[in-house]
Symmetry: C2
Subunit: 347 residues, 2 copies
């Protein structure tokens, strides 16, 4: 099945390093590319200037042989009531850390893909552009296709996979429930629709003709081989790269991933407003993990930012998003190239 993926991207092996906003930049992608796999740049949290800088680094290292990932959500309208409810829920923590609520400024946002962002990306014509939370509007998608990028997007159900194929994607990423970070669902927000990789992957492989990239819980060479046995054309691994030397994973986050307690993750909407999988910590235990008070994505981040910063200053990850998939057994603090070799050992 890997031949289907190689028609899109001549990677040997058919392994994609998952784009992970907040814990990596071009450095990880460059190291993965040097080892022969597909490096990805997560663009959702970069400013326009940062994005251009990172793209320039990628171009210098590997031409256009990379994947750049964008979020494709709709920006929510400002909602003062929702923001007030969220701040009220967080009030005990503001008090605990002595934070002056009047000083809270908008934190790092997550802007959806737009023509303004496309203006930055177009000169680089990345081989692959992947989206999370569906796809951008048709005209924007057509623009990306017109400059020659192949389009990938995440499906968390069979229905989403069929929808993406009908919209003309070149490959579907089947995101099993084990995956770390944000769930990519976009047709239904009912979390009971989300399936484990063992169920989701083969059902999507049967449902669509485009290549299917497996992700979620795949963290070892055996996992990669198993995903291929289930019909995947390629595998995308994220958590397995989080301890790599070239990742920008914080010391706090690295320490959390090294503990056995990291096996207890949960989907939580508290950090951004959308469900994402992270290691269970104090905020998740006390307000959730799914909390009714969290505002629409991505508006939860700003009000939480000063609490997170105050806790991190004391060496605590109690209020930090400690994204992780459910399978931490593959995490190794090694160069990314060594992780690529290990993950693809059985291919």
């Amino acid at each position: 099945m890997t031949a289907k993926f190689r028609e899109l991207f001549d990677a040997q092996p058919a392994l994609i390093q998952a784009p992970m906003a907040g814990v990596q930049d071009a450095a990880l992608a460059i190291a993965v590319d040097a080892a022969g796999a597909v490096g990805s740049l997560p663009a959702a949290m970069f400013s326009p200037e940062q994005l251009d800088t990172e793209l320039r680094k990628l171009k210098a290292a590997m031409g256009n042989r990379f994947n750049v990932n964008f979020f494709a959500h709709s920006e929510p309208a400002p909602d003062a009531d929702a923001d007030a409810r969220w701040r009220e829920a967080l009030a005990p923590y503001y008090a605990e850390f002595g934070i002056d609520v009047a000083n809270i400024r908008p934190g790092p946002g997550r802007a959806p893909f737009s023509h303004a962002v496309a203006d930055i990306v177009e000169p680089y014509r990345p081989a692959l552009v992947s989206f999370h939370f569906g796809l951008p509007p048709d005209d924007l998608l057509a623009r990306v296709k017109a400059w020659g990028s192949r389009i990938l997007s995440s499906a968390t159900t069979v229905e989403e996979a069929r929808w993406l194929e009908a919209k003309g994607v070149d490959a579907v990423i089947a995101q099993g429930l084990e995956a770390g970070g944000h769930r990519g669902h976009f047709l239904s927000h009912d979390l009971t629709c989300q399936q484990g990789t063992f169920a989701l992957l083969p059902q999507i492989v049967r449902a669509v003709k485009v290549p299917v990239i497996a992700t979620g819980g795949i963290a070892t060479a055996e996992g990669v081989a198993a995903a291929m046995a289930l019909g995947a054309s390629a595998v995308q691994a994220g958590t397995a790269f989080m301890l790599c030397n070239e990742a920008k994973t914080s010391a706090l986050h690295r320490a959390a991933l090294r503990q056995a307690s990291a096996r207890h993750t949960a989907l939580t909407n508290l950090f951004t407003g959308r469900p994402a999988r992270g290691i269970v910590n104090r905020l998740m235990r006390e307000l959730g993990p799914m909390g009714a008070a969290a505002p629409a994505f991505p508006l939860a981040t700003a009000a939480l930012a000063p609490i997170r910063a105050a806790a991190e200053a004391k060496g605590s990850g109690d209020f930090s998003p400690l994204w992780s998939g459910q399978n931490i057994d593959g995490c190794r603090a090694v160069p990314a190239a060594e992780q690529v070799r290990e993950l693809t050992r059985l291919l």
Copy 2:
């Protein structure tokens, strides 16, 4: 890895038909055994007389080469308040179907394994005895081991697998979140601890020395091969056998499994009091799927029974437990022997 399983049970192939209370009896196990795999009898819902009858059928067909499965929960104390709350939640349905609440009698219960049940089982000395929801008390477990049965039990976390190994089980069943029917968790009732098979299976394989049997979302030959690639010594498949000729799956349940909407399952406590995976239906949509009003396992069943019966009499599965795993692609209305051949095609 299958050699590890064959030291316990000389099955060729290393495939176990999952015990499925309510949808099968000895007939399915006998057909599976005749095809060379391991047939299982689910004992949790049988009366003592039924259990003896079914065991006699198994003995006549295959000696002691079978698996018999018991629930190992603690029986809850009667709780009149909880029962009243549950009946109040169900009151609109009693009214809708014209049911006289005064006439409600205890429905089919689910008794835990006990010395009285062991008295029935002992003469048959089944090759395998499997437990769900942990293990019975030590003296009872010792009794089963003393008569020569090998012990299997379900683990839904790495911690549970280690606990079971320490208690002396001969093999651990790694039950991924995709699995249909009751979750087997017993150390923590926090559902966020539950993992997809892709994450759970390899982590348990690394954590214990006993053979690991994979279950959850495995419904095709490719799935069986993938589980073996992840280190399973054997695979247990349930949903894939539910449409087989020899299963006792009701016509309503069979019809539900044949629809694409069967892909939407959820964990629900409404039918028994414990979370179990079934196809989403009206009761689950209106009161749950996880409902605070449901009493402790297995006490939810009785008060719901007349509503279920009234709905089923009208041809509706709106109030029936339509147990199913997340992967329905392997369901085929064929003889069980043909399903065994298909599932093990790649071994």
